[in-house]
Subunit: 263 residues, 2 copies
Amino acid sequence: MKNKSFADNFVKDLLRFVPGVSLDCVVFGYRDGILNVLLLKHRNVDAWTLPGGFLLSDMEMQDAAHDILYKRTGLQDIFLTQYHTFSSLHRGWDVNEQSRLAIAQVQSTWEVKHKELLTKWFHQRFISTAYLALIEADKALLTTDYLSERCEWIPITDLPNLVLDHAQMIQMALEYLKVQINYLPIGKSLLPDKFTMSDLQTLYESIVQRKLDRGNFQRKMLKLGIFKRHEKLMTGASNKAPFLYSIDDQRYHLLLSEGIRFR
Amino acid sequence: MKNKSFADNFVKDLLRFVPGVSLDCVVFGYRDGILNVLLLKHRNVDAWTLPGGFLLSDMEMQDAAHDILYKRTGLQDIFLTQYHTFSSLHRGWDVNEQSRLAIAQVQSTWEVKHKELLTKWFHQRFISTAYLALIEADKALLTTDYLSERCEWIPITDLPNLVLDHAQMIQMALEYLKVQINYLPIGKSLLPDKFTMSDLQTLYESIVQRKLDRGNFQRKMLKLGIFKRHEKLMTGASNKAPFLYSIDDQRYHLLLSEGIRFR
DNA sequence: TTTTAATGTGTCAATACGACACATTAACTT
DNA sequence: AAGTTAATGTGTCGTATTGACACATTAAAA
């Protein structure tokens, strides 16, 4: 039975994890002018969760985060950075009745010894390190697994009910993104290879949460000298088609290494 | 025997700690125009360590950090912020032969079962969350304990050999301090209640690692409107005594809450 | 040819910054 | 009391940045 083998593997894995340690990823993706977060909906749980997991005892935490993201998006080489570690006593699964219920339900078809192990595992106090990831939304191939029934981009302006302290995690990640905007590869990671200047501007606006002046924005960005303009143009509307830009990797890395900041 | 009772307590405590989780504090203190870090020298270990410890399973991590600092400095109400979590596979005690030796020596007078427990404990993989603290060096009453033979302020320009990845921890904390200088209560936390403007400038200079123009610095600082000038003057040298300043808490918090930045 | 929106620039006032300069002040010396 | 010394307050200048607006040009579609 598929169910049975999943349980076996899952429980076997539990023994290989560092107990009490977990990680969660706040994955930002940008689509249709809106900043989104990647969220999972677990079966039998009436709330959404961030993609996350546990730490294999022989694995680096950053690699574990990359693995988690790879499973969900099919992408490697994702921009990823640790931004905070959550350790509150009050963040345990056992304070959330719905989650507890869900665990019980997942267990219902399992063997008793497995149930016990699982229950014990989820009633530990967890110290969770949170990572922030930036990915190009349309490149991601969102994938569910045995535990999750949905895996979707959710606009940050329209967040659903979230498990544990995951809402706080997203809030803090947004704050981090906003403060660090000049030091993170926002454009490079969140936009497709080619994009228009107004795409870029809208992205920045959705992060800093205010309107920016077009002229000034354009001037500032182009002055950085990291953009390549392409001859190919967009088409469709009855007006001059906007130019497409891409980021010149070499110049971009030169800029970053010199510590020159955006905006 | 004092030794015996320490061992008993220590081992009893081990059972109350969250396994695999630790925390370390990079404590900055400012003295004689130099930025210092608080370091401990353990008995039988040929390297220094940051003040740190383990997490009691019923305690918040931030509180644990405060406790650690209180034991070392006698101070409460210390400015404290988490800045990174270190989790590398290669940071374990067991890769450091000297440390391993030291553990063995500490154990030498202990009961066998205690030895075993302790050995096992210290050979775990530890995930350590690092905190940055700012304190007024001269207010601190530095205190050693059973394990440590020295507890001292060490200039950041003259760091000794450090245990594990503690040198990296300090390096990263310095970087954090430098980047966040405009958002942290530098002056308020690191200087005595009353200080001269050149004290403040030297402090800033020791953090940003470059000379600042006196006139411009003074103008900028005073324009913030958070300083109270005192009539009392310093004395000693054959010149005009510098004014003493203190930080007006109310205006200071107003400034912070408005998100206005220094420099 | 007209309509429409994208694009590239220009201007202007306000502000910030770094580098210097200079006059004033007060504490200690002689 | 006058001299020496360093602290202090302030001014200036050139450069750079910012935000707000304006305007002319361009090209795609109607």
